[in-house]
């Protein structure tokens, strides 16, 4: 599957394309399919996201998981600061990142 990710323009937060909006949670991301590049360009032009790009990902029962380690780290946060990840209270939340 193809996901679109980028950063929120004003805050810099990592965001994921949900099909009609942007979410900070990769679990909300939807397969953008063949239209991914076109959607990314359109959303960037509308200033809804900064420097979006398309990545490969795998669908799992827990939600999409980016194929490359760099995007998996982006999805959750720095592996060395679990307190700063999106799910700081869940010690197993990052088990799929590395």
């Amino acid at each position: 599957m193809k996901l679109i990710t980028g950063n929120d323009l004003a805050t810099g937060d990592v965001v994921w394309w949900t099909g009609d909006d942007w979410s900070r949670h990769v679990e909300d991301a939807k397969d953008a399919g063949e239209q991914a590049e076109a959607i990314a360009r359109e959303q960037e032009a509308a200033r809804r996201v900064n420097v979006p790009y398309v990545i490969e990902a795998t669908a799992t029962a827990e939600g999409p998981r980016p194929a490359h380690i760099k995007d998996r780290i982006r999805a959750l946060g720095p592996t060395v600061r679990p307190d700063l990840t999106l799910k700081p209270a869940d010690p197993t939340a990052g088990s799929w990142v590395i």
């Binding site: 810099g12 990592v14 194929a67 982006r74 946060g77 600061r81």
Partner: protein
């Protein structure tokens, strides 16, 4: 400490106003990211893996308590409660919001700080010896010259769009504590026949093509120094390659031209430049130098210290260095707790260090290229009081220059350029060698880790270096031995095939075991490596 005059302050304030308007236009959609990116980079604002990152300049690594407290305030108010001190003697914040950036810069400007020249193809923040003004072995204080270079290079119209970024270091002692010869220009101040001048090295650097800067000028008098540097830059600006980013640094130009031809062209240019009168009048240099005058030392200061607390005694031996003034000492605060993140400090810790500087160190602090903090002017009689407070703030790790005093770039945990994580590797190594007695037995051992070929973690210059690479989507770590960024400068050599994260830690232990087995009395790790070569270590690693 240098204090801004009205021109300095006006320049910085104007830049804040300009950037505020640029951010407003970007948020309003009046300019695109392609248009905005070079503008934000000129103000130290990067877009990294998780958020915007702001790199704040600490000129030649020197700052006062008020500025240090501002760094804590920025961390607490605009970031997530911490900052990361870097190998360029700067500080980075990892979680900045674009909409906050102008306010942050405005707050920094109130304490004479900024983020100018922390990015882009310009002359970057000048680096220097963290013991400047306190070291017993310096021939002069390098900071007035570093400040002069800062003023000369700030918005220099000719050098704002160089072929590539440009880094300058100034030292004034034979012991090189600033990795001087791994800079684009390295300046070593020295005296000949009573005359102050400098030896000039040009064309060093790390990155994907590491090179040690060759000597270009044996001695240039201080009166001609700025003109000579202008000539060095002009030749580079004219002939440095702009068609290939990987060949754009001055080290490539000098490698291709040859040092002799580059020197000839610089001398020719210097003859022209010298007529322009850009060297400062003596009065201006005196004005700047006066601001770096030594604090009023007490000549009767006691140089006895009670070593009865064994932990304190270990810290004294490891982290405290000789000061030029009897009765005083230089304190190194390690930002490398075992299991911690090299170079990171919480807002509370930054405040503690600011308080200690104000109370005990003539209000001064330094940031080191090894990602530690220095209190440069401390009474020996106050060392125990300082240590007690450092212990309380978890800043008393007694590991300066030992194997756990690791330089590590942010790596793939934060950096969009990285291929592999650096910090977890540093943490595992520090934990493996956590026993302080074992570390001290290994002695001086500088371990440096980069998460990609750009070498922000100085892996080429580590006695032991680690380079993280991406091997088919998996983190892999190459091991290098024999580098040094000090006066015995050398570049590390790769041992062989790389390792995974745990494998590289095991490999390092086999390397240190080999060192223990073959070292001779008084040899540091790097001395032993140079005597016996790579083979015994390779045999131990790959068997």
């Amino acid at each position: 400490m240098y204090k801004y005059d009205e021109y300095d302050q006006a320049v910085v304030d104007a830049r804040v106003d300009e950037f505020r308007d640029q951010v407003r236009r970007r948020l309003a959609g009046e300019i695109t990211e392609d248009q905005f990116k070079p503008l934000r980079l000129m103000n130290g604002l990067y877009l990294q893996l998780h958020a915007y990152m702001l790199r704040v300049a600490v000129p030649y690594g020197t700052l006062d308590s008020r500025q240090m407290r501002m760094l804590a305030h920025i961390a607490r108010t605009y970031d997530r409660g911490y900052g990361h001190f870097t190998t360029r003697q700067n500080i980075q914040y990892n979680w900045i919001k674009l909409e906050d950036a102008p306010d942050i810069l405005a707050e920094l400007a109130t304490v004479e700080m900024h983020a100018i020249q922390t990015s882009g193809n310009c002359i970057r923040n000048i680096s220097s010896d963290q013991f400047a003004g306190a070291a017993a072995d310096e021939v002069a204080d390098p900071r007035p010259w570093a400040e002069l270079l800062r003023q000369w290079s700030t918005f220099h119209p000719e050098f704002s769009y160089l072929p590539r970024k440009f880094k300058i270091a100034v030292i004034a002692a034979d012991e090189d504590r600033a990795a001087m010869r791994l800079h684009d220009i390295g300046i070593q101040l020295l005296r000949r026949d009573g005359v102050l001048g400098a030896k000039i090295f040009v064309g060093g650097g790390m990155g994907r093509t590491p090179m040690i800067a060759p000597e270009i000028k044996d001695f240039i008098t201080a009166d001609d120094l700025m003109s000579y540097l202008e000539a060095c830059l002009r030749v580079y600006n004219r002939y440095g390659r702009r068609d290939n980013i990987y060949k754009a640094r001055i080290k490539i130009l000098i490698h291709e031209l040859g040092a002799d031809e580059y020197r000839r062209q610089v001398e020719e240019e210097f003859a022209q430049v010298k007529q322009l009168g850009i060297d400062p009048p003596a009065a201006e240099l005196e004005r700047i130098s006066a601001m770096f005058a030594s604090p009023p030392f007490d000549p009767a200061a006691d140089d006895e210290v009670d070593r009865s607390d064994p932990d304190f005694a270990v810290w004294l031996d490891q982290n405290v260095r000789q000061h030029k003034q009897r009765g005083y000492a230089i304190v190194n605060i390690s930002l490398k707790p075992v299991g911690g993140i090299p170079g990171d400090a919480s807002a509370e810790q930054i405040d503690v260090m600011a308080d200690l500087a104000e109370r005990f160190s003539a209000n001064e602090l330094r940031v080191t290229h090894a990602q530690n903090i220095v209190l440069p002017h401390v009474r020996i009689a106050d060392l125990k009081l300082i240590w007690d407070q450092l212990v309380e703030a978890r800043l008393a790790e007694a590991n300066l220059d030992l194997i756990s005093d690791i330089i590590a770039c942010p790596g793939l945990d934060y950096c969009s350029l990285a291929n592999a994580r650096s910090i977890p590797v540093a943490q595992k190594i520090a934990q493996r060698f956590a026993d302080p007695a074992r570390q001290r037995d290994l002695g001086e051992l500088k371990l440096k880790i980069s998460g990609c070929i750009n070498a922000c973690g100085h892996h080429h210059a580590g006695h032991i270096g680690i380079l993280g690479v991406d091997r088919k989507g998996t983190e892999n770590y190459q091991l290098l031995l024999g580098g040094s960024g000090a006066e015995d400068v050398s570049l590390g050599k790769i041992t062989g095939p790389g390792f995974d994260e745990d494998g590289v830690v095991d490999a390092i232990e086999r390397v240190t075991d080999t060192y223990i087995a073959v070292r001779q009395k008084g040899e540091r790790f790097v001395d032993t490596y140079r005597r016996v070569g790579m083979e015994p270590f390779k045999e131990a690693i790959y068997g």
